[in-house]
């Protein structure tokens, strides 16, 4: 290298730099002051959005390059868009104009001083030749505030590789996109540029001391075309064209400056120009390492960095798939921007999963807003205002860190200015609650609560559920079907309702089970929902503790698999019902579902009704009863109509069923819903005298041949019991005196309705009491036969008779032929007194039914 043209000012780093000393020539390049790398311009957020591209590549403007010379117009405005260098051509058209004319090319003569005219346009440092390298270093300092590509900002520099001539340097330190490239690897450079179009982010890497211009001095002889060209350009001396050529040479990719894709400012300011091998290694590490593929996107605000618009990318450039991160692998930039994609990813992440620094930033922002209500919200801050950690001693401050500090100071100043400009508006608080709404809510609450108080009985304008079911109503049919159960019958109760819905239909369920137990049948509870099974068990235990504890009610096991479990029960009832929910043998002898005498489906959802009906009903001939909620009624009605099955719907039917069953009976008989026992039985008259049949029930004295009955006649006694019940019912029908029926006109008022109720009490008491007594002895048979003899004495006057509507439904014929023996069933261990109690209650109910017939409210 010619020593005379050795830029020794590059070696002298101690020389201070003057901003107005010799940098005028940059104005002609950069296109004016606004393009000068001024710290005030770097990264300054203008409208709250951060222009990453400007921030990343400094203030290099393509217009500046175009203004310099015409051939620079061929350069892309993108510093990474490097075209393949063509071989030197003889075509004059490929040569810039100023090169084609000899007169425009200033001849360089090393010994001759520059002309005075030309020297005026040259930088001062070219005049003296002593311009210190500090100029460049200071320029580097300012330009270093901008974030650079990772391989420009640091990384380990391989000194040995730098010492080698450019042509001898190990290609292994080059990035992969440079190693295989012919002719400066322009296409790979474009690929790399495309990758930066897709993903632009910073990778924090510590800066090394070697990241300076020392490589320029260490190189003894710059080899290759670059050094020659640089020397030639420098030798051109004072003309502007020479400066342009110098810059063009720096921009022009050479064999030693493989990338050629750095921005102008970086080339002039810092360690650019020829990336060090260490930087190349860092870049290669960055591009090939897993960190590039799995970096934490949450650490960057891509909305701010990339902006709302998708970043354009040259169509011919494709990034190797191996280098494409996962989050961008199936996304086209032209269709979905990376910012949008990252925005979606970031929105999906809860706050708790954000990194600590982002959460701290968020908390800081929230606290700032809440601390000063009314103040304007500062623009989104990319960098927190907290001071960065001080670099460790002996380590030069990172240029990126200085840039962050600068950004922080700018945003802090902007936020302070806006905060000072906007005064917090005084917010006047109005009423916290809306007064009309409060009034309406209070009125509604009062209207709901007061009717429950007896003092406000007049507010009970809502119709109460009927005491008895309407004639031929589905619920009445259901009651009759359950009432047909006999001792030893097995009733399957399929509970497929949520525990919450049991509050609505649980009353009907327990009433049906109590009714079956009163008929000495055996209820078996199963469910496809384990929670519902437990809830049903608790509810039944609460109402029928004795039957539950005595295992008169069997709680089967949970049937898994929904419809599969139901089908399993239908196909394998012996196995499915072999054990109860506690794992104890159930002692049920069920070989087929056809052995079930009644199936009750308790459900609050359409699916439950559907699966139980479809999987079980086709296999059985037993009657089916639905106990469903009001919400499931429409679908249950469809199946009920198809199967001819009755159904009980909702809370009102539950109350009516219990009322009709007598579950609300007090010590003296049936109690209507909504009427307290004391009010019922204290205010009633005692028309005992009207029931004269009492002395006629004397056959009890004749029932003495108890010993004549053999124990084998127990079954016949049980059968006689049912016959006696039926007979007795009709007998009591005849006992209705005209007094009771004559009050039918007054039944509209509750007062009159209660009156016949009381009349039924004495009538039922004497007549029913002997019937269970007779069931113990064969005299009951005689009682039944003797009933008709009593009937004429109890016959009412013709024309005023009112038959009790009860028992209008004929008893269903037994499904089993008479000659077929009943399979062995679980023996009922219910004590007889309970059966007596049931008979008493049943008689009470029937008598009351007759008495209450005028008061019946049809549904």
């Amino acid at each position: 290298m010619n020593d005379e043209f050795d830029p020794n000012w590059l070696d002298d780093s101690d020389q201070p730099f003057s901003a107005d000393d010799g940098m005028d020539w940059l104005d002609s390049i950069g296109g004016g002051d606004e393009q000068t790398p001024d710290s005030q311009d770097i990264g300054k957020p203008s409208t709250g959005e951060f222009d990453f591209e400007t921030f990343a590549f400094g203030d290099v403007d393509s217009d500046a390059v175009e203004d310099s010379s015409a051939w620079l117009a061929d350069l892309s405005d993108n510093p990474f868009d490097v075209k393949p260098t063509e071989a030197p051509s003889e075509d004059p058209g490929a040569i810039p104009d100023w090169l084609q004319t000899d007169s425009e090319i200033p001849a360089y003569t090393p010994s001759e001083p520059a002309s005075a005219a030309a020297s005026e346009d040259l930088p001062d440092w070219l005049h003296t030749g002593e311009q210190p390298a500090a100029d460049v270093s200071d320029l580097e300092t300012e330009a270093g505030d901008v974030p650079l590509a990772p391989w420009l900002r640091g990384a380990d520099i391989d000194e040995e590789a730098l010492d080698k001539p450019a042509g001898e340097r190990d290609s292994g330190v080059l990035p992969s996109w440079l190693q295989g490239a012919d002719d400066f690897g322009a296409e790979d450079a474009n690929t790399f540029q495309a990758s930066f179009d897709d993903v632009q982010f910073e990778v924090e890497e510590p800066i090394e001391e070697s990241d300076d211009l020392s490589w320029m001095t260490d190189a003894d002889e710059p080899s290759g075309a670059q050094s020659d060209e640089l020397a030639a350009l420098l030798s051109q001396g004072e003309s502007d064209a020479g400066v342009d050529d110098l810059l063009a040479g720096l921009l022009q990719p050479t064999d030693t400056q493989g990338e050629g894709d750095v921005d102008l400012l970086s080339l002039l300011s810092s360690d650019a120009g020829e990336p060090s091998t260490a930087s190349q290694g860092g870049l290669q590490h960055f591009a090939e390492d897993d960190e590039f593929l799995s970096f934490d996107s949450a650490r960057l605000n891509f909305d701010e960095l990339l902006g709302p618009n998708p970043i354009s990318r040259p169509a011919e450039i494709e990034l190797p798939e191996s280098n494409i991160p996962d989050f961008l692998s199936d996304v086209s930039v032209s269709e979905v921007s990376a910012a949008a994609l990252m925005r979606q990813q970031q929105e999906d992440r809860p706050i708790e999963e954000l990194p600590e620094e982002l959460r701290a930033l968020l908390d800081e922002g929230v606290s700032a807003v809440t601390a000063a209500p009314g103040t304007a919200v500062p623009p989104p801050v990319l960098i927190s205002e907290a001071p960065a950690a001080k670099p460790p001693p002996g380590r030069r401050a990172d240029k990126g860190t200085r840039g962050i500090e600068l950004m922080r100071s700018i945003t802090a100043a902007a936020g302070a200015a806006q905060g000072a400009a906007v005064k917090p508006a005084r917010v006047r608080r109005g009423l916290r609650y809306n007064l009309p709404r409060l009034i309406v809510a209070a009125v509604v609450a009062v209207a709901v609560i007061l009717p429950f108080l007896d003092a406000f009985e007049s507010l009970r304008f809502v119709q109460l559920p009927p005491v008895l079911f309407g004639e031929k109503s589905p619920a009445e049919t259901a009651y009759a079907v359950v009432d047909d159960l006999a001792e030893g019958d097995v009733m399957l109760v399929a509970v497929d309702a949520s525990p919450g819905s049991l509050s609505e239909i649980g009353g009907a369920m327990t009433a049906v089970i109590a009714h079956a137990r009163a008929r000495q049948a055996t209820p078996v509870i199963v469910s496809t929902d384990p929670v519902a099974l437990v809830a049903a068990q608790r509810m039944i235990e609460g109402e029928l503790p004795e039957d539950t504890h005595n295992k008169q009610i069997i709680f089967g096991r949970y049937l898994p698999g929904d419809s599969l479990g139901v089908r399993d029960l239908a196909e394998n009832p012996r196995d499915a019902l072999a054990f109860d929910h506690d794992g104890r043998p159930s002692d049920l002898q069920i070989d087929s579902v056809a052995d079930l005498d009644l199936i009750v489906i308790v459900s609050d959802r359409a699916d439950g009704i559907r699966q139980w009906s479809e999987q079980l009903q086709p296999l059985v001939s037993s009657p089916l009863v639905f106990v469903v909620s009001a919400s499931a009624e429409p679908l249950a009605r469809l199946y009920a109509d198809s199967y001819g099955a009755p159904y009980i719907v909702g809370l009102r039917d539950s109350i009516t069923y219990r009322s009709q069953l007598g579950a609300y009976s007090g010590p003296d008989g049936l109690i209507g819903f909504g009427i307290t026992p004391s009010a019922t039985f204290t205010a009633t008259p005692t028309p005992t005298n009207t029931f004269t049949p009492t002395p006629t029930n004397t056959p009890t004295a004749t029932d003495t041949p108890t010993s004549t009955l053999a124990p084998a006649a127990a079954q016949a006694t049980a059968n006689a019991l049912a016959t006696a019940r039926v007979t007795a019912t009709f007998t009591f029908t005849a006992t209705n005196t005209p007094t009771a029926t004559s009050t039918a006109t007054a039944t509209n008022t509750p007062t009159h309705t209660l009156t016949p109720t009381n009349t039924a009490t004495p009538s039922a008491t004497p007549t029913v009491t002997p019937s269970p007594t007779l069931t113990f002895t064969p005299s009951a048979t005689f009682t039944a036969t003797s009933t008709p003899t009593n009937a004429p004495t109890l016959a009412p006057r013709p024309g005023r008779r009112r038959r009790c509507p009860r028992r209008r439904h004929a008893r269903r014929p037994r499904r089993r032929p008479p000659n077929q023996t009943r399979p062995l069933r679980r023996r009922s261990r219910r004590p007889w007194p309970l059966a007596m109690n049931w008979s008493r209650l049943s008689s009470h109910r029937r008598a009351s039914t007759c008495a209450l017939a005028p008061a019946r409210i049809s549904r």
Binding site: E352, V462, G500, R538, P560, D568, A630, P634, R652
Partner: protein, 213 residues
Amino acid sequence: MRLRLGAVLVTALTIGIALITLVGLLGTNIGPISAQIERFGITDFARLLLQFAAVTAAVAVLVGVVNLLGVHLRRTRRRGQAIYSAVLILSFVIVLGFGILPRDNEARAAVDGVQIALETAFSGLVLFSLVYGAVTIANRRPSWASLLFVATVVTVLVGALPVRGLGPIATVADWLNRVPVDAGGRAILLGIALATVIAGVRVLIGQGRATRE
């Protein structure tokens, strides 16, 4: 066309079992061949398969419970969500203890006081959801369909009230339940039946999702 041995085996197994189960469950309802089905034990084999499936479903429930516990055990290490997971695990242990070591009616208290109460409360919210939905529909963009929806909801709700003097509305509500609702319900059931048949046929011909992939 490339066939994988495993996929072919799974498909053949699925089709075979499906056919055996179908024929076995049809049982005695398919005329003269019912006796043959019974004689070859296809019905019993189908019932056995059914029991296998039911047991598998029960085990799946147990596995689900264990998995749920594992997930919440891991979540107890997270900030902000640990309390909920800890409460769930503690509740599980307590209720399990009620079942294993019963003393009194603790389990009943847990079911009645927590489960039923909560579900009842949620059921009560259905009314508010309906009313809110009706108001929202009426406010946003009234159309004939939305007005019809709101009018139907109001009519059915008012018709269900046991208040005297609402006889005409109750009659209209009863008609709505009898005619349009029944028609819609039957349409839904027909759709379910057709979909079930199609799903079954797809399994039988090897086009089910599990066997196709």
